[in-house]
């Protein structure tokens, strides 16, 4: 059904008129032109499409856009503030925690959600929290290190 929906996207109030059963992933990528969020599997298995809804990681390929009406959505593009990278983005760069970079937006967003929920995760808690985000290049070791560093930076910075 075509509806006009309102939500907050990367700190901006947006209004879109779309078929509200369409998945958020495609509305972001096509209607809104935000292509940082990636299609990887279309069935919620890989995490490439992860975005934050109310600070929680959700799979945008499995989220009908009607479900985000009135909510606060953050995509990878929204993490950059005044041109400055978010601590998780920064530590991903410092650790070279990616290769092809395709899973990276989903990884970073998922890590943000993880750290929001648990600012001081143990290594095992990071492994558990990142487990369902897939990377094919094998950057896992560095991604774990980057999330650990980001945790230190976020907690230390408060």
């Amino acid at each position: 059904m075509t509806e006009t929906l309102q939500f907050t996207l990367n700190d901006i109030d947006v209004r879109v008129t779309v078929d509200s059963d369409r998945m958020l992933l495609w509305v972001l990528r096509t209607d809104l032109g935000l292509t940082g969020t990636k299609y990887g599997c279309g069935e919620g298995y890989c995490g490439s499409c992860t975005v934050l809804v109310e600070n929680q990681a959700v799979r945008s390929c499995q989220t009908p856009v009607k479900e985000i009406e009135g909510k606060n959505v953050v995509t990878i593009e929204g993490l950059l503030k005044d041109g400055k990278p978010h601590p998780v983005q920064k530590t991903f760069m410092e650790h070279d925690a990616f290769q092809c970079g395709y899973c990276t937006p989903g990884m970073i967003i998922n890590a943000c959600s993880l750290l929001h929920e648990n600012p001081r995760p143990s290594k095992q808690q990071i492994v558990d929290g990142m487990e369902n985000n897939l990377c094919r290049c094998g950057a896992h070791k560095r991604i774990l290190e980057a999330v650990q560093s980001a945790s230190k930076e976020l907690v230390g910075g408060r």
Binding site: W26, E77, M93, D96, F98, C100, G101, D128, R136, H140
Partner: protein, 713 residues
């Protein structure tokens, strides 16, 4: 390469994408323009097949009036980090900061011809040509500076793109000033020497990835991210099984979807829509029936089928006399090893965008071979190849699976039929169905231990995997290595197969190193000591020793219960040795790799951090093919169409990883993207045996297979 990067180089953002190189030079105008003869002086540049690297200096670099240097390469960046390491090479030879190098990659109009990015060849084959071009340019700039400053060339030095008189640093001129407003054409003598390792300031130092900011902010553009106002996204009808023919189709319901455009060209049926998700949902409304697949194999019967389908062998290597070797044997070993099909499953499924304007076509594609795509597209359209431009944006992983470009040809066909700009972006199910899998394979080995304890003979027969890694590096007086595949004109596989990160070598190394361990155990020897005694290759011995030292290997008779395993391998010119520690759950057969130590000698290392990352990636990806990855199929139908059943490595699989790169800067650089993956299967198989005495002859080493191989009682 994308519009933004061109903009930064100071060109019209919209135009250059359709330009050929000559026009490009006209537009870029002033700056250093040199006629160059790299090819005549560098035998490395003589490409054996398919084309040649250009002899024009400008094919490799351009020095702008702002002092920035653009580095042109037909290679593509798929995560392996060559946009950093190639930038380092050019910065080194020109004595400029790497921050002043702009990479222009994978654009067939702007970049020198390139066969494709695979086989870990960028550093070892394109690298020398690029360095030569950089050295030549530096020499010309020094000559220009000598004229300008009125001193001899040998009185000059360069730092950060500024040429200065060594006795008076204030007397200087920058590359930017030298090239400003000039259009200089000169033929270079070819006498410039690339730097020797003792002169390196940039090569051999670790640099962070140059694509970091783009990739962590979501700005990095992949093919599927491109958008044009008139562009339609395609969803393509696939048969349920390979070889199944369309028998009937009804597109009525799909046609009723608002905005959907149906293309029906024989068996090729697609829905196009301005939204990709709507195109997919409209596709699901098509009612189609298909006949049966002509293929009758499945993932269990395939091995017998392959053995039956094999033609006459090709002899890869042969020495001595197998029969004499066998007669001199105290013990003869005969084993058969199996390996199933593996998917590439890059996180980015194949994608292409095609725009046809008049008699010209522009193609953006996730491809490891932009120049190959160009020829394919030209043929498909009947255009002269100079009318086709191919641009490879960032690739979301390749692993050997993005060299064939079927998605680009699908997009070409649809763009031609509709007259619109078309994007084809495969779904994950498309990706699994259309993938060219790493081939299922069988390796049969007969070998012997001599009465004196050495190896007496080695009869290695590989079916279908390929030849890479089939040769060995042990002292064996009598040996034969043969490769069997389907006779010419036949195909034994029920679907496409192709190169998969270090093609054939993973299978061959698994078989060889398992067999070596079996022999060592029978000889009552420690796996490390047995190898050190029998290795022929000194470099391999050094590498194995380095791994053992890092690992803390202590000799023991296997199975020791410790779960230690070794494998040695050679790939892309690099020598590698891996030691692993595993834990095996005896009740379930589940294997957990706890620790991996990998040592390699890859000659000169351009970017140590980049090389280390590649080793880590190889080790992590290698866990997948060794332990879990296997394509399940039956009668042409692929059962694994997503990551729910096709299991690739996850965070919880991650072992402790330690890497060692031997310092060897005086030897030519070798491959880095593949070697460390080849030893994973063999090292894990040997570690499983050491842990619980279960010898596994088939990859992946899933729990059921481990449990079944467990010693009874």
């Amino acid at each position: 390469m994308n519009n933004n990067e061109l903009l930064e180089l100071g060109f019209d953002a919209a135009a250059p994408l359709q330009l050929n190189r000559r026009k490009f030079l006209q537009i870029t105008g002033s700056g250093l323009v040199l006629l160059f003869t790299v090819g005549e002086t560098t035998p490395l540049l003589a490409e054996p097949q398919g084309g040649n690297l250009p002899t024009d200096f400008n094919a490799f670099l351009k020095i702008g009036e702002d002092g920035r240097v653009a580095c042109y390469t037909g290679k593509i960046e798929m995560g392996q980090g060559v946009n950093t390491s190639l930038g380092q090479m050019l910065a080194e030879e020109l004595d400029i900061s790497i921050d002043n190098v702009d990479m222009v990659m994978g654009n067939t109009d702007l970049c020198p011809w390139d066969r494709g990015t695979w086989g870990s060849q960028t550093t070892r084959q394109f690298g020398p040509a690029l360095r030569q071009a950089g050295a030549e340019a530096r020499m010309v700039l020094l000559e220009m500076a000598a004229d300008r400053l009125n001193v001899p060339v040998n009185a000059l030095a360069v730092k950060d793109g500024v040429v200065y008189v060594q006795s008076n640093k204030q007397n200087n001129v920058s590359y930017a000033e030298l090239t400003k407003g000039k259009r200089i054409e000169r033929r270079v003598t070819g006498t410039a020497k690339v730097k020797s390792p003792s002169e390196f300031n940039i090569i051999g130092k670790s640099f962070k990835r140059r694509d970091g900011m783009e990739k962590v902010t979501g700005k990095a553009q992949y093919t599927g991210d491109l958008h044009f106002p008139d562009m339609l996204y395609a969803a393509i009808l696939r048969p349920p099984a390979h070889g199944a023919q369309l028998t009937s189709v009804d597109v009525t319901e799909a046609r009723n979807v608002e905005g959907a455009e149906i293309v029906q060209d024989g068996d090729f049926i697609a829905v196009l829509h301005k939204y990709p998700d709507v195109a997919q949902s409209a596709l699901s409304k098509i009612k189609a029936t298909f006949g049966p697949s002509p293929y009758t194999t499945d993932d269990k019967t395939i091995f017998d089928h392959l053995l039956k389908s094999a033609g006459e062998p090709r002899v890869i290597a042969s020495d001595g006399n197998l029969q004499a070797g066998e007669e001199n044997s105290a013990t003869v070993f005969e084993h058969t090893y199996f390996d199933g099909y593996k998917a590439h499953s890059p996180m980015e499924p194949h994608a292409a965008v095609v725009k046809i304007e008049g008699d010209k076509a522009t193609v953006w594609a996730s491809t490891q071979s932009p120049f190959g795509t160009k020829e394919q597209v030209a043929r498909e359209l009947g255009f002269p190849s100079e009318n086709v431009t191919v641009i490879a944006p960032y690739l979301g992983g390749g692993f050997g699976g993005k060299g064939g470009n079927p998605q680009a040809l699908e997009a070409v066909r649809l763009a031609k039929l509709t007259g619109k700009t078309v994007q084809v972006a495969w779904t994950r199910a498309d990706e699994f169905f259309m993938d060219s899998f790493r081939p299922a394979a069988v390796v049969k080995i007969r070998s012997g231990l001599a009465k004196n304890g050495g190896m007496s003979f080695w009869d290695f027969n590989v079916y279908f995997a390929g030849t890479r890694g089939s040769e060995h590096f042990y002292t064996i007086p009598h040996h034969s290595i043969r490769f069997y595949s389907a006779p010419r004109g036949t195909n034994a596989h029920p679907f496409a197969t192709g190169a998969w990160r270090a093609p054939a070598n993973n299978t061959n190394t698994f078989a060889r190193e398992s067999q070596i361990d079996i022999m060592a155990t029978r000889a009552g020897a420690d796996a490390y000591e047995f190898r050190m005694r029998n290795l022929r290759d000194e470099k391999m011995k050094r590498v194995l020793k380095a791994a053992a030292e890092k690992f803390g290997w202590k000799p023991a008779k296997s199975p020791s219960g410790r779960g230690y395993g070794i494998a040695c391998g050679e790939d892309a010119g690099t020598v590698v040795a891996t030691m692993v520690e595993v834990a095996v759950d005896k009740a379930s057969g589940e294997v957990k790799v706890k620790r991996v130590v990998c040592a390699q000698d890859m000659g000169l290392v351009i970017n140590p951090e980049g090389a280390t990352i590649q080793m880590e990636g190889c080790i992590t990806m290698g866990l997948g093919y060794a332990l879990r990855e296997d394509i399940h199929f039956e009668n042409g139908e692929i059962h694994d169409l997503n990551f729910d059943t096709y299991e690739i490595p996850r965070f919880s699989w991650l072992p402790e990883i330690e890497t060692v790169i031997l310092n060897n800067p005086n030897e030519a650089p070798q491959g880095g993207g593949e070697p460390a993956i080849v030893t994973m299967g063999g090292a894990i198989a040997n570690a499983i045996y050491d842990a619980v005495g279960a010898r596994i002859f088939q990859m992946p080493m899933i729990p059921e297979r481990v449990k079944a191989a467990m010693p009874k009682g």
